[in-house]
């Protein structure tokens, strides 16, 4: 039971990060029906910028309290990523807005490769350690350990999701976004500046991505120029699971995917241990008696779950869990 609870907590933390990244995918898709495959790279750049800022501030003995240094890291990463998001939209997507849907998908992949290699040139190929300056107290709840960083990640994610929902449903910009998503031509005729709204969507998504990057960095303590690729693909799967284009869907999909991964990786070894069915062959029974376990699929299949989910959703429910509320996407 303790193990189960612990896996749930791990899954929730991971899921919150996926949810924040998935929001970036789903917002852009909702408004321009484009999958921005470079979004994972934006998350990576957020982590790298924060790492550099936090590292140099912590190394310079400024006497600033650690929390302020981390906030300064986030404060630098967010505008940098927003600028990257804006440039991306302006350079790679806006000129192709009238083009067939395949064209912007290809530029998205191109941008992703360019960003990854730029990051490699700037921050080297080596895995970088994320400065660990904030003490990370660990609390025990019913036998499971929850660290301060985990609590911060989950609560910050919840705050950002609330903030984004408020932005989309309570502000003029949000109304313009929803209008553009429903029908760009008509929204334009009604006086909505479509280009500005689309650019804002990219910028907001990139800002969320930057914060997610800092979360990943502080949670695992490591950053690498390829870290965005897999994370981006998983978050994309989460967005599809929830119903791409749907805000609530991205949040739900992200958290569900995190839970599926944590529980899957935690239990797959035991579930596929052939020794549970050792009666099917004597050879197997002998090996079980000798080794105690013959595991068919180990925890290294952790990364497979996200994509199994993606395939299952695409086959059985292509619109995703909450996908039917088409009018709501933004």
């Amino acid at each position: 039971m303790e193990v189960f609870l612990q896996q749930i907590i791990n899954g929730l933390t991971l899921g919150s990060i996926y949810a924040i990244v998935a929001l970036g995918y789903t917002m852009v898709y909702g408004i321009v029906q484009l999958i921005n495959f470079a979004h994972g790279e934006v998350v990576m750049i957020g982590a790298m910028v924060a790492l550099t800022v936090i590292g140099s501030l912590a190394g310079a003995n400024t006497g600033m309290p650690p929390v302020v240094i981390v906030l300064a890291g986030i404060a630098c990463a967010v505008p940098v990523c927003m600028a990257v998001g804006y440039t991306m939209e302006r350079v790679a997507y806006r000129p192709l807005r009238g083009a067939p849907r395949l064209a912007p998908l290809i530029t998205a992949i191109g941008i992703s490769i360019i960003l990854q290699h730029l990051a490699m040139l700037i921050w080297s190929r080596n895995p970088l350690s994320f400065p660990q300056i904030i003490p990370n107290p660990v609390f025990e709840i019913a036998g499971a350990n929850v660290s301060g960083v985990q609590i911060a990640i989950i609560s910050l994610s919840a705050l950002m999701m609330l903030g984004l929902t408020a932005l989309v449903y309570r502000t003029r910009l949000g109304t313009a976004m929803r209008a553009t998503s429903e029908n760009p031509q008509v929204a334009g005729l009604m006086g909505v500046n479509i280009n500005r709204v689309i650019a804002s969507t990219f910028v907001i998504g990139a800002g969320l991505g930057a914060v997610a990057g800092v979360m990943v960095g502080t949670y695992y303590g490591i950053a690498h120029y390829t870290m965005g690729a897999l994370l981006g693909l998983k978050a994309f799967s989460a967005a599809v699971l929830g119903g791409i284009g749907n805000l609530a869907g991205a949040m739900l999909g992200g958290i569900l995917l995190g839970l599926v991964e944590a529980l899957g990786a935690g239990y797959i070894g035991e579930l596929t241990d052939l020794c549970h069915v050792s009666w099917i062959s004597t050879g197997l029974a002998e090996r079980c008696a000798q080794d105690g376990h013959v595991v068919l699929m180990g925890s290294n299949y952790q990364d497979v779950f996200a994509f199994l989910v993606l395939i299952a959703v695409l086959v059985f429910r292509p619109s995703g869990l909450l996908g039917e509320r088409v009018g709501d996407r933004a």
């Binding site: 193990v3 895995p127 350690s129 695992y220 935690g266 180990g298 952790q302």
Partner: protein, 406 residues
């Protein structure tokens, strides 16, 4: 040192021919040299290691070991086969790239070197060793630990450092002796290095009667170990061994401590670096790990003094092993009274030599007999040696250092 991770690159024919052209030019220059030796015959000893790039400092360290041995031999003014001899080191940069190994090996063969010390990386040494074997040039690596190197059946291939498959039993025996664990979890990164090492550790632990949990695996890019560690925590292991590099091992130990895993964390040489402290912070304190060979500071005092006097710094890691390798070639030449590789090779195989890294004899494969392994622990943020494992026996490091330092 594990196999290099540098991806194998297809080089264009143009680059290859350019290298061969340079090699050919170099050969012409070398041919003119014997006259410059002041009447003595010049004997060329090749050395190859990455002298540029990320581990250039280790390559330079290896090179310094060879240079010191060559200069010392020249100062003695040796006579071999009735003629005064002068040794000369030809040092080449293999960039740590597997595809450059054979090119440099061919260059050495063309330059008619009498012996080669190197290369640094297993991944480069293995392809290069085939060329040396064809050319009949003895080669001794001071740092390539991959077992494959000496399993190819080459008569000219030797190493003065231990093998990875001796490292597994060493760290396992230290764990058993020091921490007396009942249940141990073994995790690896599913690479040939990590999995191979983990298999050796598991075998040795089981032989010592320790219960080993079902193997857990990540990949060499895994940074999220929480799911695996949580499952392990439920089984309460007394120790966790991880076969892999520091980029995976750092997050592993950090997350393990966060989850409240109490046991000791153990690693192989891929994660036996100061980077563990950077990646895991305070959680890294107390981890144990192994490296092939002995730490440079435990090599003989005369070697360390000579090295310091010549280069103004301490040897980093493998210099004592390349120094010994060079001296082995020179000593074998003296014993056989010939600088012809075919003639001095039997003397090299049968050698019994006391070098900077201790006593050296080779087994039939060219591996060092009873090679030492060193166990380190992370104390106050630094990797420090705690014990030497030799022939299955654990010797506390201080005792060992006293023994060789005398």
């Amino acid at each position: 040192m594990p196999l290099t991770r540098v991806p194998f690159r297809l080089r264009s024919v143009a680059v290859l021919s350019a290298v061969l052209l340079v090699a050919a030019c170099g050969k012409q220059e070398e041919a003119a040299k014997p006259a410059a030796g002041g009447g003595a015959t010049v004997i060329k000893i090749g050395h190859a290691a990455p002298l540029t790039g990320g581990i250039a400092h280790l390559g330079k360290d290896n090179e310094a070991g060879v240079r010191l041995a060559v200069d010392e031999a020249n100062a003695k003014g040796l006579t071999i086969g009735g003629a005064k001899v002068q040794f000369e080191m030809l040092s080449e940069d293999d960039e740590g790239k597997p595809d450059k190994g054979p090119i440099i090996a061919q260059k050495f063969a063309d330059a008619k070197v009498a012996g080669v010390v190197g290369h640094l990386n297993s991944g480069v040494t293995i392809p290069a060793s085939a060329v040396y074997n064809t050319a009949g040039i003895p080669m001794i690596s001071g740092s390539a630990t991959n077992p494959k190197l000496t399993e190819q059946g080459f008569a000219v291939t030797f190493r003065t450092v231990g093998r990875d498959d001796q490292q597994g039993p060493a760290i396992a025996s230290y764990l058993v002796a020091q921490f007396k664990p009942k249940v141990v979890a073994v995790v690896d990164d599913a690479t040939s290095y990590g999995e191979g090492l983990a298999n050796e550790v598991e075998k040795s632990l089981k032989a010592a009667g320790v219960t080993v949990l079902a193997r857990e695996k990540g990949t060499d890019k895994t940074t999220d170990w929480k799911a695996i560690l949580t499952t392990l925590k439920g089984k309460k292991p007394d120790a966790v061994f991880y076969g892999g590099m520091d980029s995976g091992g750092g997050p592993l130990v950090k997350q393990g401590r966060e989850l409240g895993l109490k046991g000791v964390f153990a690693f192989g040489d891929g994660a036996c670096t100061d980077k563990m402290q950077e990646l895991a912070g305070a959680a890294a304190e107390g981890l144990v790990c192994s490296q092939a060979g002995i730490p440079a500071q435990a090599s003989s005092k005369s070697f360390i003094d000579a090295f310091k006097a010549k280069f103004g710094s301490d040897p980093i890691i493998y210099a004592p092993f390349t120094y010994d390798a060079t001296n082995l070639i020179i000593t074998a030449m003296q014993k056989a009274d010939s600088v012809d590789p075919a003639k001095y090779l039997p003397a090299l195989k049968a050698i019994s030599f006391d070098g900077a890294s201790g006593h050296i004899e080779f087994d039939e494969k060219g591996d060092r007999k009873d090679a030492e392994m060193t166990i380190f622990t992370l104390k106050d943020g630094k990797i420090v040696p705690v014990a030497i494992i030799k022939a299955g026996k654990t010797i506390p490091f201080e005792e060992f250092a006293k023994g060789t330092g005398a």
